[in-house]
Protein backbone atom coordinates (compact mmCIF):
# COMPACT_ATOMS: atom_id res chain seq x y z
CA UNK A 1 0.00 0.00 0.00
CA UNK A 2 1.52 3.33 -1.04
CA UNK A 3 0.56 6.70 0.32
CA UNK A 4 2.52 6.18 3.53
CA UNK A 5 2.72 9.29 5.63
CA UNK A 6 3.55 9.03 9.28
CA UNK A 7 2.89 11.71 11.80
CA UNK A 8 3.04 11.52 15.58
CA UNK A 9 1.44 13.24 18.53
CA UNK A 10 2.45 12.67 22.12
CA UNK A 11 0.78 13.72 25.36
CA UNK A 12 1.42 13.16 29.03
CA UNK A 13 -1.61 12.54 31.24
CA UNK A 14 -1.14 13.25 34.93
CA UNK A 15 -2.59 11.06 37.71
CA UNK A 16 -6.00 12.27 38.96
CA UNK A 17 -6.01 15.02 36.30
CA UNK A 18 -9.78 14.72 35.97
CA UNK A 19 -10.24 18.35 34.97
CA UNK A 20 -8.34 17.98 31.75
CA UNK A 21 -9.79 14.64 30.59
CA UNK A 22 -11.02 15.21 27.05
CA UNK A 23 -8.55 17.99 26.27
CA UNK A 24 -6.13 15.66 24.50
CA UNK A 25 -8.92 13.95 22.60
CA UNK A 26 -10.12 17.35 21.39
CA UNK A 27 -6.58 18.31 20.31
CA UNK A 28 -6.14 15.03 18.45
CA UNK A 29 -9.47 15.46 16.71
CA UNK A 30 -8.62 19.03 15.71
CA UNK A 31 -5.18 18.05 14.42
CA UNK A 32 -6.58 15.17 12.40
CA UNK A 33 -9.27 17.22 10.73
CA UNK A 34 -6.76 17.94 7.95
CA UNK A 35 -6.01 14.25 7.46
CA UNK A 36 -9.48 12.81 7.77
CA UNK A 37 -12.48 14.74 6.50
CA UNK A 38 -14.96 12.10 7.70
CA UNK A 39 -16.69 13.50 10.78
CA UNK A 40 -17.99 10.07 11.63
CA UNK A 41 -14.45 8.72 11.70
CA UNK A 42 -13.23 11.59 13.87
CA UNK A 43 -16.04 11.04 16.37
CA UNK A 44 -15.19 7.34 16.58
CA UNK A 45 -11.53 8.12 17.16
CA UNK A 46 -12.44 10.86 19.64
CA UNK A 47 -14.44 8.46 21.80
CA UNK A 48 -11.50 6.04 21.99
CA UNK A 49 -8.90 8.69 22.80
CA UNK A 50 -11.17 10.24 25.45
CA UNK A 51 -11.57 6.86 27.16
CA UNK A 52 -7.83 6.11 27.02
CA UNK A 53 -7.12 9.53 28.47
CA UNK A 54 -9.70 9.05 31.23
CA UNK A 55 -8.20 5.67 32.15
CA UNK A 56 -4.73 7.15 32.54
CA UNK A 57 -6.06 9.99 34.70
CA UNK A 58 -8.24 7.75 36.88
CA UNK A 59 -6.15 4.64 37.35
CA UNK A 60 -2.45 5.47 37.21
CA UNK A 61 -0.28 6.29 40.18
CA UNK A 62 2.19 8.47 38.34
CA UNK A 63 0.40 9.30 35.12
CA UNK A 64 0.92 7.93 31.67
CA UNK A 65 1.78 8.53 28.08
CA UNK A 66 -0.52 8.85 25.12
CA UNK A 67 1.08 8.31 21.73
CA UNK A 68 -0.90 8.82 18.55
CA UNK A 69 0.58 7.64 15.26
CA UNK A 70 -1.02 8.46 11.95
CA UNK A 71 -0.09 6.25 9.03
CA UNK A 72 -1.79 5.44 5.76
CA UNK A 73 -5.47 5.82 6.46
CA UNK A 74 -5.29 4.75 10.07
CA UNK A 75 -4.53 6.02 13.52
CA UNK A 76 -2.78 3.92 16.11
CA UNK A 77 -2.97 4.91 19.77
CA UNK A 78 -0.66 3.62 22.47
CA UNK A 79 -1.54 4.41 26.09
CA UNK A 80 1.16 3.40 28.52
CA UNK A 81 1.74 3.78 32.21
CA UNK A 82 3.97 2.40 34.95
CA UNK A 83 1.40 1.26 37.40
CA UNK A 84 -0.34 -0.08 39.36
CA UNK A 85 -1.45 -2.53 36.64
CA UNK A 86 -4.71 -4.40 36.10
CA UNK A 87 -4.80 -7.59 38.23
CA UNK A 88 -7.58 -9.24 36.20
CA UNK A 89 -8.02 -8.09 32.61
CA UNK A 90 -11.15 -10.18 32.01
CA UNK A 91 -12.79 -8.51 34.97
CA UNK A 92 -11.68 -5.08 33.77
CA UNK A 93 -13.35 -5.80 30.45
CA UNK A 94 -16.64 -6.80 32.11
CA UNK A 95 -19.13 -3.98 31.49
CA UNK A 96 -19.96 -2.21 34.74
CA UNK A 97 -16.92 -3.42 36.66
CA UNK A 98 -14.86 -0.52 37.95
CA UNK A 99 -12.13 0.26 40.43
CA UNK A 100 -12.38 4.02 39.94
CA UNK A 101 -12.13 6.03 43.18
CA UNK A 102 -15.20 7.74 44.63
CA UNK A 103 -13.92 11.15 43.54
CA UNK A 104 -13.88 10.07 39.87
CA UNK A 105 -17.29 8.42 40.13
CA UNK A 106 -18.88 11.56 41.48
CA UNK A 107 -17.79 13.30 38.31
CA UNK A 108 -19.45 10.63 36.18
CA UNK A 109 -16.28 8.72 35.38
CA UNK A 110 -15.84 5.10 36.38
CA UNK A 111 -18.96 3.69 34.74
CA UNK A 112 -17.02 0.53 34.03
CA UNK A 113 -17.57 0.66 30.27
CA UNK A 114 -14.58 2.72 29.11
CA UNK A 115 -12.55 -0.18 27.75
CA UNK A 116 -15.72 -1.60 26.20
CA UNK A 117 -16.30 1.68 24.43
CA UNK A 118 -12.80 1.51 22.95
CA UNK A 119 -13.35 -2.09 21.86
CA UNK A 120 -16.63 -1.13 20.28
CA UNK A 121 -15.43 1.94 18.37
CA UNK A 122 -11.87 0.86 17.46
CA UNK A 123 -10.86 -1.59 14.74
CA UNK A 124 -8.15 -3.34 16.73
CA UNK A 125 -7.61 -3.63 20.47
CA UNK A 126 -4.74 -5.01 22.53
CA UNK A 127 -4.28 -4.75 26.28
CA UNK A 128 -1.50 -6.07 28.44
CA UNK A 129 -0.87 -5.42 32.09
CA UNK A 130 1.87 -6.31 34.52
CA UNK A 131 2.41 -5.29 38.11
CA UNK A 132 4.62 -2.53 36.87
CA UNK A 133 2.32 -1.06 34.27
CA UNK A 134 -0.28 -1.32 31.56
CA UNK A 135 -0.12 -0.92 27.81
CA UNK A 136 -3.21 -0.41 25.71
CA UNK A 137 -2.88 -0.32 21.93
CA UNK A 138 -5.74 0.25 19.55
CA UNK A 139 -6.24 1.39 16.01
CA UNK A 140 -9.07 3.24 14.35
CA UNK A 141 -9.22 2.81 10.60
CA UNK A 142 -10.66 5.14 8.07
CA UNK A 143 -11.07 2.31 5.57
CA UNK A 144 -12.73 -1.07 5.44
CA UNK A 145 -9.64 -3.20 4.94
CA UNK A 146 -9.11 -5.92 7.48
CA UNK A 147 -5.40 -6.69 7.35
CA UNK A 148 -2.44 -4.97 8.87
CA UNK A 149 0.14 -3.70 6.42
CA UNK A 150 3.03 -2.58 8.58
Amino acid sequence: MGNVSVSELRYIVGPSSYDSVGSKAMKVKKFLQDYFPSQDYLRRLGVCVFEAEANLAIHTTSGGDLLIVIYNNRVKVVAQDTGPGIPDIDKALTPGFTTAPEMARQLGFGGGVGLNNIKRFADSFWLESLKRGTTLVFEVWNDDSTQFDY
Binding site: G22, R43, F50, A54, F109
Partner: protein
Amino acid sequence: MMTLRNLITKLPFQVLTNKCNFDVSFQNVYASDLLSNALASVNPETAWITVQVHQNILGIASIKQCPVVIFSEGAVPDDSVISLAEEKDIFLLTSSYPTFELSGLLYRLLKEE
Protein backbone atom coordinates in the same frame (compact mmCIF):
# COMPACT_ATOMS: atom_id res chain seq x y z
CA MET B 1 -36.57 17.70 14.59
CA MET B 2 -36.79 20.41 17.24
CA THR B 3 -35.13 23.81 17.07
CA LEU B 4 -33.84 25.55 20.18
CA ARG B 5 -36.25 28.39 19.44
CA ASN B 6 -39.16 26.01 19.47
CA LEU B 7 -37.89 24.29 22.61
CA ILE B 8 -37.49 27.39 24.77
CA THR B 9 -40.90 28.70 23.81
CA LYS B 10 -42.48 25.44 24.98
CA LEU B 11 -40.58 24.67 28.17
CA PRO B 12 -39.26 27.00 30.88
CA PHE B 13 -35.52 26.74 30.26
CA GLN B 14 -32.84 29.13 31.30
CA VAL B 15 -30.41 29.69 28.43
CA LEU B 16 -26.89 29.87 29.89
CA THR B 17 -24.78 30.58 26.81
CA ASN B 18 -24.73 33.94 25.06
CA LYS B 19 -24.88 34.42 21.30
CA CYS B 20 -27.11 31.39 21.03
CA ASN B 21 -28.08 30.35 17.51
CA PHE B 22 -31.72 29.43 18.06
CA ASP B 23 -31.91 27.66 14.70
CA VAL B 24 -29.77 24.81 16.02
CA SER B 25 -31.86 21.67 16.12
CA PHE B 26 -31.87 18.14 17.49
CA GLN B 27 -33.83 14.98 16.74
CA ASN B 28 -33.39 12.99 19.90
CA VAL B 29 -32.49 13.30 23.55
CA TYR B 30 -30.11 11.23 25.63
CA ALA B 31 -30.09 11.38 29.43
CA SER B 32 -27.15 10.08 31.48
CA ASP B 33 -24.71 11.30 34.09
CA LEU B 34 -22.21 8.56 33.28
CA LEU B 35 -19.64 10.08 30.96
CA SER B 36 -18.80 6.87 29.08
CA ASN B 37 -22.46 6.24 28.30
CA ALA B 38 -22.93 9.75 27.00
CA LEU B 39 -19.70 9.53 25.03
CA ALA B 40 -20.92 6.41 23.28
CA SER B 41 -24.45 7.64 22.67
CA VAL B 42 -24.70 11.35 21.92
CA ASN B 43 -24.26 12.57 18.35
CA PRO B 44 -24.77 15.71 16.23
CA GLU B 45 -28.56 15.25 16.41
CA THR B 46 -28.74 14.78 20.18
CA ALA B 47 -29.56 17.04 23.10
CA TRP B 48 -27.86 15.62 26.22
CA ILE B 49 -29.49 15.85 29.65
CA THR B 50 -27.16 15.61 32.65
CA VAL B 51 -26.51 17.01 36.12
CA GLN B 52 -22.73 16.95 35.56
CA VAL B 53 -21.52 20.53 35.23
CA HIS B 54 -17.73 20.14 35.03
CA GLN B 55 -15.82 20.95 31.86
CA ASN B 56 -15.32 17.32 30.80
CA ILE B 57 -18.89 17.36 29.49
CA LEU B 58 -17.79 19.91 26.90
CA GLY B 59 -15.04 17.55 25.78
CA ILE B 60 -17.68 14.90 25.17
CA ALA B 61 -20.10 17.29 23.46
CA SER B 62 -17.29 18.67 21.32
CA ILE B 63 -15.89 15.27 20.31
CA LYS B 64 -19.35 13.94 19.43
CA GLN B 65 -20.52 17.29 17.96
CA CYS B 66 -23.50 17.27 20.29
CA PRO B 67 -25.00 20.76 19.92
CA VAL B 68 -27.05 21.11 23.13
CA VAL B 69 -26.49 20.16 26.76
CA ILE B 70 -29.44 20.52 29.13
CA PHE B 71 -28.80 20.50 32.87
CA SER B 72 -31.58 19.11 35.01
CA GLU B 73 -32.27 19.71 38.72
CA GLY B 74 -31.37 23.38 38.21
CA ALA B 75 -27.66 22.56 37.89
CA VAL B 76 -25.53 25.46 36.66
CA PRO B 77 -21.85 25.20 35.68
CA ASP B 78 -19.13 27.72 36.53
CA ASP B 79 -18.73 30.77 34.31
CA SER B 80 -15.50 29.31 32.90
CA VAL B 81 -17.42 26.28 31.61
CA ILE B 82 -20.10 28.51 30.10
CA SER B 83 -17.47 30.64 28.32
CA LEU B 84 -15.76 27.55 26.98
CA ALA B 85 -19.11 26.27 25.68
CA GLU B 86 -19.66 29.58 23.88
CA GLU B 87 -16.24 29.23 22.23
CA LYS B 88 -17.12 25.75 21.07
CA ASP B 89 -20.64 26.64 19.91
CA ILE B 90 -22.23 24.27 22.37
CA PHE B 91 -25.48 25.55 23.83
CA LEU B 92 -26.15 25.14 27.52
CA LEU B 93 -29.61 25.24 29.03
CA THR B 94 -30.73 24.56 32.55
CA SER B 95 -34.06 23.53 34.00
CA SER B 96 -35.25 22.93 37.54
CA TYR B 97 -37.06 19.73 36.47
CA PRO B 98 -35.53 16.46 37.66
CA THR B 99 -34.06 14.32 34.87
CA PHE B 100 -37.02 11.94 34.75
CA GLU B 101 -39.61 14.67 34.30
CA LEU B 102 -37.47 16.62 31.88
CA SER B 103 -36.95 13.49 29.77
CA GLY B 104 -40.70 12.84 29.73
CA LEU B 105 -41.53 16.39 28.71
CA LEU B 106 -38.95 16.35 25.92
CA TYR B 107 -40.08 12.93 24.78
CA ARG B 108 -43.62 14.16 24.38
CA LEU B 109 -42.54 17.35 22.63
CA LEU B 110 -40.42 15.43 20.11
CA LYS B 111 -43.25 12.95 19.45
CA GLU B 112 -45.60 15.85 18.73
CA GLU B 113 -43.19 17.47 16.26
